[in-house]
């Protein structure tokens, strides 16, 4: 782990990263991964390093001057492997959707790097950027506003082909679109219908078909099922899992519903106020959380089983999430944390395997950004 941090520091120091260093970083990462999970994961397809996005706050009309910044994302790092699902959870305002936009290069990062197969996409432009974008697609939250009501389903799903004609030659597009409709479980004959003729779940399937059109390797899903009814949610989740197996897709699955994230994710990262609080496999995070915020978040989830509920410990946090324009010093969670001490206000806790768990191979030995990391099961009844 120490070795990895050294590497990250090296990456930090040189903005124009040379490929050698990238490879270096990824091999270290792999070594760490091998310790954490026995499953062979191969090369990371996406590496995010110290990603930062600050939105400036300005004052004045003619002469704008910057008076501060909303620190939406403030230095986060993670890897995404081929064929896996990395879940990102956190409450509103924690920066999870900004991360999605940064990875899509819809926003320009203030600092940090995003390596797609070793290439830093934050530095790309023009043709090279366009090529990378083909490989990273997105499925949006609200299937009611993310589909143009004046376009037919065929035009919506086929539109990516206008931008990347190399994927489907002109004469072949209609057939391709019908294939895609079939893949997501819609009747191919619906190609000439408009979005309003479909239900919410069906619209989300259209959104997914559009995401698949360019045969991307990564799909970023920003709250893909939170607008859907419970009985339809399961259908869409099952579809997404089926597609992942079929096309070997990597998902970055952003959501606030912790049960759904556990179901679909191989690994889970917990964000709080622009920082990663804890990251690990689903078992590590849900059954052996060590960060107090993760514990509070998990304990607050209402579980549809009154009996299991009674045996669980509940942690009710006080207060609200502080403003990302003026985050607390040191650990950002300290203002709501029951463990907070002087050290938490002074020192920013680093995201690393806590010292006390380092030598053991318990599931608690995963990265957690807390000075007083301690294992606590809040999900299972005592």
């Amino acid at each position: 782990m120490a070795e990895l941090k050294k590497n990250e520091a090296a990456v930090d120091a040189t903005p124009n990263v040379m490929p050698v260093e990238t490879v270096d970083a990824s091999t270290t990462q792999e070594a760490v991964a091998a310790i954490e999970a026995p499953v062979e994961r191969g090369e990371p397809i996406l590496q995010v390093r110290n990603l930062v996005k600050h939105f400036p706050l300005t004052q004045g009309i003619l002469f704008k001057k910057q008076i501060g910044a909303v620190k939406a994302v403030d230095g986060i790092s993670f890897d995404l492997y081929q064929g896996e699902t990395l879940g990102i959870v956190g409450e509103s305002g924690c920066g999870k959707s900004t991360v999605a936009k940064l990875l899509m290069t819809l926003e320009t990062a203030t600092a940090g790097e995003v390596f797609f197969k070793g290439q830093d996409i934050t530095k790309l432009s023009g043709r090279a950027l366009k090529a990378v974008r083909r490989n990273i697609q997105m499925v949006f939250q609200d299937p009611y506003t993310s589909l143009n009501p004046r376009m037919t389903v065929g035009d919506i799903i086929g539109e990516p082909f206008d931008i990347h004609p190399e994927v489907a030659p002109k004469g072949d597009r209609r057939r391709k679109v019908q294939e895609l409709l079939d893949v997501v479980g819609l009747n191919p004959e619906y190609i000439n219908r408009y979005p309003h003729q479909f239900s919410g779940g069906q619209r989300q399937r259209i959104g997914i078909a559009r995401g698949l059109a360019l045969q991307p390797e990564i799909i970023i899903c920003d709250e893909p099922v939170s607008a859907l009814d419970v009985s339809v949610q399961a259908q869409v989740i099952n579809l997404m899992e089926k597609l992942q197996d079929e096309f070997n897709l990597s998902y970055l699955f952003i959501a606030h519903d912790l049960s759904i994230v556990r179901h679909i994710s191989d690994r889970v990262g917990v964000m709080y106020l622009g920082k990663m609080a804890e990251i690990g496999t689903d078992t590590q995070i849900y059954d052996h959380p060590t960060h107090p915020y993760t514990q509070a978040l998990l304990s607050a989830v209402p579980v549809p089983d009154p009996e299991a509920r009674e045996g669980r410990e509940r942690i009710i946090l006080t207060g609200d999430v502080p403003s990302p324009a003026n985050p607390p010093s040191g650990c950002r969670f300290r203002t709501r944390c029951w463990k907070a001490q002087d050290k938490c206000a002074e020192e920013v806790p680093l995201l690393a395997v806590p010292e006390r768990f380092k030598s053991s191979d318990t599931p608690a030995a995963h990265e957690s950004a807390c000075h007083f990391a301690e294992e606590k099961d809040v999900v299972h009844a005592a």
């Binding site: 009814d229 399961a234 606030h256 556990r262 078992t283 607050a300 549809p304 009996e307 009710i316 946090l317």
Partner: protein
């Protein structure tokens, strides 16, 4: 209907809705939003009404509150008895006295339910000025008291602030304070925590449960979240296509659902405490209210459906221990 679930004999019935029917006139015909809903709430009791969008759970509540949009909406049958009186026979000005004073409602979206150009103190105080004829100064003190009661910190300093200066959780507390203002006997909360984050949701649900206990109010909690219900409700009514398909005390329904729809819902949510296999998905879509299927409305999606389900609408059968299920094959569902 004897299958009204587990009402404790001790507390008198506060609200009794019987065979309520509501329609909405549309260009394509009548949308039958509520088709014979029957439920009751006793003093100090919490009834959770669970259902997906379009199941009629909110429309029923609006009919009870008397805030249904008429037209296009129309109550086509049934009774709403509140403290012994049938509300549907009251004149509008009498109905108005019941609203706010005797029963109050908490809405999902606090930001759009509050007036952005009035301070929260003015909005809370207005209740006392209008209904109790208090002076503005007394009303303001009452507003501070209410804000204290819903645990808004520094209430005296914040009473003059505007809705946008409060966070989502705090705004929902103000909505709750407003509903509590005149100490109504019944509160209807329509998805009160759906717009909130999970840690804030826990705070707000906790507050609601405490207040209900302190004030011995009846509470109708309308939600689509099976988890939220499990925490606070005494009994549950599950709605589908404008009908109650299952009703039961809260513990029983999770342990052994007696209707295939409830069973399907419970099986389709992933678990927090273990990683499951593929999720069970109820096939198909909720019905169009303009064309509700004949027989049991759930039959096109039901794994147990047989011929009788396509022709005969199941009544709410009595199930042992004060439960009810509108399924011809409830025994099979319950035990199989």
């Amino acid at each position: 209907m004897t299958a009204t679930p587990g009402t404790p004999d001790a507390s008198p019935v506060l609200l009794d809705v019987r065979d309520l029917h509501v329609e909405f006139r549309t260009r394509d015909g009548a949308a039958r939003a509520v088709n014979g809903v029957t439920y009751s709430v006793a003093e100090g009791e919490t009834l959770a009404v669970l259902g997906e969008s379009g199941s009629g759970k909110s429309v029923t509540a609006q009919a009870v509150m008397g805030i249904l949009d008429v037209p296009p909406g129309r109550i086509t049958g049934g009774e709403i008895r509140f403290q012994g009186r049938d509300l549907l026979t009251l004149k509008e000005d009498e109905r108005r006295k019941v609203r706010g004073r005797e029963m109050a409602m908490i809405f999902q979206d606090a930001l759009s339910s509050l007036n952005p150009v009035l301070s929260v103190g003015e909005q809370l105080g207005e209740m006392f000025v209008v209904h109790r004829g208090m002076s503005r100064k007394d009303a303001r003190n009452k507003a501070v008291e209410l804000m204290d009661r819903v645990r808004i910190p520094a209430a005296r300093e914040r009473v003059g602030q505007y809705p946008h200066q409060f966070s989502g959780g705090m705004r929902q507390r103000i909505m709750i304070a407003m509903a509590l203002a005149l100490e109504p006997a019944l509160i209807i909360a329509d998805e009160p925590t759906t717009a909130l984050d999970v840690t804030v949701q826990a705070q707000v649900m906790d507050l609601l449960a405490d207040l209900r206990r302190e004030l011995a109010m009846g509470l109708i909690l309308i939600t689509h979240d099976l988890g939220v219900v499990a925490d606070v409700a005494d009994k549950i009514a599950v709605m589908y296509a404008g009908r109650i398909v299952e009703s039961a005390p809260v513990h029983d329904i999770y342990k052994a659902p007696a209707h295939p729809y409830t069973k399907g819902l419970l099986e389709s949510i992933p678990r927090l405490d273990q990683k499951g296999q593929e999720l069970y998905a109820i096939k198909g879509l909720p019905p169009n209210l303009l064309r509700i299927p004949p027989g049991c409305a759930f039959h096109p999606r039901c794994p147990l459906a047989r011929d009788v389900c396509r022709t005969d609408e199941p009544p709410l059968y009595d199930v042992p221990d004060g439960r009810g299920s509108a399924c011809h094959f409830w025994q099979e569902t319950l035990h199989g």
